[in-house]
């Protein structure tokens, strides 16, 4: 009986952690400070080339690593948004060998996606696989239709 209770407690605890992860993962949060992002230093890639151009309305800045399993699929989704909307640019920074960048922005997991406004200020960030519906709501707040 004792071990049944212990097993149930352990399975229950693990399930709670899993549910919390599911609930929190990819939710993202608004950034109050509106930190200006220096693309000059990050040298992000767009369509395979270094691009420092912000989207006219918003920019999705994705941080990836070469060992990140989910990064390519997130890239595809966000590139599709870029192509569909035109006024939103998708830029990507590979931080595999740039741990200073990860440390500077407090990035603990990849992908991490920053949403920048038209001026290039950080307004929203998501760690993990972004929830597209939520991301679109945030884009709408920046005037993207």
């Amino acid at each position: 009986m004792d071990n049944l209770l212990a097993v149930l407690a352990l399975v229950g605890a693990a399930t709670l952690v899993g549910l919390a992860y599911r609930f929190l993962h990819g939710r993202g949060h608004s950034v109050k400070s509106k930190k200006q992002i220096d693309l000059e230093r990050l040298r992000p890639i767009r369509n395979g080339q270094v691009s420092l151009a912000l989207g006219a309305e918003a920019t999705l800045l994705q941080f990836s690593t070469s060992y990140c399993g989910q990064c390519p699929s997130v890239r595809r989704q966000l590139v599709a948004l870029d192509q569909e909307l035109g006024t939103v640019h998708h830029l990507e920074v590979d931080i595999t060998d740039r741990l200073d960048v990860a440390a500077h922005f407090g990035i603990n997991q990849t992908p991490t996606v920053f949403l920048l406004n038209a001026k290039g200020q950080l307004v929203y960030r998501v760690g993990g696989i972004p929830n597209l519906a939520k991301l679109k709501v945030e884009l709408e707040k920046l005037g993207v239709k």
Binding site: L10, A14, T15, Y21, S66, C68, Q70
Partner: protein
Amino acid sequence: MSQLIDPRAPRVGAAVTSAFAILGFADAYTSFGITSQFLAVLLFVLFVWSVFFPNTHPYKKLFQAIKPRLGEPKELEDARPPRFAQQVGLGFATLGIVGLVLSSQVVVAIAFAFIFIAAFLNAFFNFCLGCQMYLLLKRVGLLRS
């Protein structure tokens, strides 16, 4: 470019590992008999196997057997984070062996509990603790490229 793997393969292995670990935990928690000793050794052997000789691992054979039922994967992912996760697992399995040598019921039970939680989250929530820790540990300098 490093090796790419089907992301479901480690999860199938993790499901089996979590079953062994919860059985081991149940026994270690109460009677601490031959079952938990056998399972601690079994998990240790399986983790050593997957860290050093992943290509001949029984989990790989198991996955290949059920793969036709699952169909083709949507994405492949980098093998490094899951491999790293196996090393973390080996760390806890080694702790279990240390517990056996010291005949410490608490140490063995803790080792089983950690292995269970990590494997369970990986298998059923697609949440790979070791993978999540990868960038974090690299950042704090515990891991070298």
